[in-house]
Symmetry: C2
Subunit: 413 residues, 2 copies
């Protein structure tokens, strides 16, 4: 595909042209979004969906800024990951290359179109984009602008295609061999539906059930601050905690300090019997340990030991991000080595699990799959690699016969 | 899982103990294999299967050597891939960690049990292994030895489990969440069946349809040598070529030189009309361009241009390994940039697509998936990574409010 052969600067310029074209079309995009909002109101769409759908002039300006920032990110393509002489005159290289074509499926949020489209072009990939029906006018206006921008660049406008019908969206899931990666942006239900209905790799996570474990040896004031931040800073985020595990010996003092703070922040606590005995007013059922509340609700359990906390996380966690508060360095290291999650934290909030906070510049999504890419994924999630081997008549039979031998000498990257 | 917490030396020692135990049980293993072979003869198993099933004393000794070599491979676990200060006292690390549990399904070949089991333990993974029914006695004897070896090491023998029934094997495919990667070793049909019946990632490839394109500007003698090696050195291998594409201007001279050589090597050629006009005796049907012969058969097509060759490879290839023979450096670079296969080669045989030849020391398999790991996969295909974040009371709200700012300063790896 021609897009994959373009130089860094050409892809940078194309993304910059996309930003300029969005700016030029700002009035039209905001007007289209206004029409979507009116239709949503007439259809009685839930307020949360309407909020995500809304794209006013200032939100649009921020999104265009985001596109400009993507143009500035270091090129993920053409990075030499391996460079090795196999024998005199036979040199192996491993180079990062674009994946090919991305399938992007998102609900409501028209700003996601701009973000993902710019990440796709920056990394040399084409994209098939499918937005929610409720955002159809906004998405069409945005895509028109993005493609107008590409028309003035080295990238063909056809590199970005908008899918509009549910049939096209279902069809997209069947395009294995043509589409290389599906990126869903939306509810857990959307992500799970997609995972169940495609053989194409899916970058994303269905659940974010994050834990904070407060150890026996702990700086209580710090632990309370971290717990409150991890729950309340943005409760709808996947990296907010859903369950608090308290070591038996720390639980009384911790809860005495934390209960008023949680109450002041409007957090509803649901505890096991032991934590209820220490003042937690709500009761947790088994379903609470598996719940992603995405809201100001927090399950609380008192555990006997670090091992019991690890067991709880292994059983109920979703391998997203889990944290410990402890002043004991050896306990911290055991936790870091034992929790098999994309992010394992000591003495800080789970809310740091984010591509921007990790310094990736932009985030494609957060993956809770075991295989890489895992956790917050930057542009590197949109590339793969190829092995390039340059020889001068080298044949395998010469090595089988012993006529020649491999040198396997690493060369400078 | 405890295995994931062991040190490098403990895992090395465990693999060495596996090798020693195999040696001690050699007579019993060879006898068990003999019984499998007799049963296979009684059942009238095809000769090719019987050949793969056979494990005599010298083949076993070679396999044990292979296990010892795996013990010597550099540790793939605990490699720091990223080290970054996010802010004073808040430090992010990305460390390689074992995947967890591998599901390994292979036909016949009992030597594959030893190879994969040692790679699994070396990289800190457990493995559920399912061999073919025809190899059941051999596999049981090998597993007994491997577990006896582990019993004298820091790794629990339960890290390796043998599945024996077809029901268990089908059940394995459903263990998403418990099994992290499926590694099939066997026929294309086996691999495709597994890919179609599991949501667990599969490391492997169903097809190896490799091409050699002979350019207009070419060293003819070299091109003939490479074509013959790539087809005949080991025709059953997935990295053997199945289709030869000849530039119109090079085809007459190339075929004049190559036809006698191919004939002498017993290669049956199937050509399009143009190559038949130049002396290729067999006729290629459309199905031939999609065929993985795995035999001394080669499809031949005359193309008008590099572009037509690229189009053919894009249409019929399996993204495994494709090569060009050319003396024109710019043509070579266009080919390297345009062919989207795991391996893209210039002036050498496709038979180099192999983990040992790449210098990986051992090979888990060859993947034709687009996403990494791609191509020949060494031990690095059996690890993933975790982000570890160590702080001292850091909370996200301080960065949202502007009270603190990220430094994003890379530290030495």
């Amino acid at each position: 595909m021609a897009l994959g052969r373009l130089e860094d600067q050409q892809r940078r310029d194309a993304v910059a042209a996309m930003a300029a074209a969005l700016e030029a079309a700002a009035d039209r995009i905001v007007a289209a979004n206004q029409a979507d909002l009116e239709a949503a109101a007439a259809d009685g769409l839930p307020a949360a969906l309407v909020a995500r759908l809304k794209l006013d002039a200032s939100k649009l300006a921020a999104a265009i800024d985001g596109v400009r920032q993507v143009a500035q990110l270091p090129d993920p393509v053409g990075v030499r990951q391996l460079h090795r002489e196999l024998d005199a005159g036979l040199v192996l290289e491993r180079l990062s290359v674009p994946l090919g074509v991305l399938g992007v499926i998102f609900e409501a949020r028209p700003d996601a179109v701009m973000q993902i489209a710019s990440l796709a072009i920056r990394s040399g990939n084409g994209a098939l984009l499918k937005g929610g029906r409720e955002a159809s006018r906004s998405c069409a206006a945005i895509l028109e602008a993005l493609r107008a921008g590409l028309a003035s660049s080295a990238v063909a406008p056809q590199a970005l295609e908008l899918l509009t019908s549910r049939e096209e969206s279902l069809g997209l899931l069947k395009l294995d061999g043509l589409v290389d990666l599906i990126i869903p942006r939306g509810s857990n239900e959307l992500v799970r539906f997609i995972q169940d209905n495609t053989r194409i790799p899916v970058l994303g996570h269905a659940d974010g059930i994050c834990h904070l474990y407060v150890d026996r040896e702990v700086d209580l004031a710090q632990a309370v601050r971290i717990a409150v931040d991890a729950k309340t800073h943005y409760p709808a985020a996947c990296n907010a905690i859903e369950t608090l595990l308290l070591h038996r010996e720390a639980a009384p003092a911790f809860l005495a300090a934390a209960l008023p703070t949680f109450a002041a922040a409007g957090v509803e606590l649901r505890g096991d019997a032991a934590s209820q005995a220490l003042g937690v007013s709500g009761a947790a059922a088994d379903a609470d340990w598996r719940a992603e509340y995405s809201d100001l609700v927090l399950a609380v359990r008192v555990v006997e030991s670090l091992d019991q906390a690890l067991e709880h996380i292994g059983c109920y966690g979703s391998r997203h991000t889990d944290a410990i508060c402890t002043t004991n360095a050896s306990t911290a290291e055991t936790f870091l080595r034992s929790v098999d999650s994309a992010g394992v934290y000591v003495n800080c909030s789970t809310r740091f699990a984010d591509g921007f906070r990790y310094g990736f510049g932009a985030e494609v999504g957060i993956s809770t799959q075991t295989l890489p890419p895992r956790g917050p994924v930057g542009l590197e999630g949109l590339v793969t690699y190829r092995y390039l081997l340059r020889g001068d008549g080298h044949i395998a039979a010469d090595y089988g016969s012993g006529a020649r031998r491999f040198s396997h000498r690493d060369l400078p990257l």
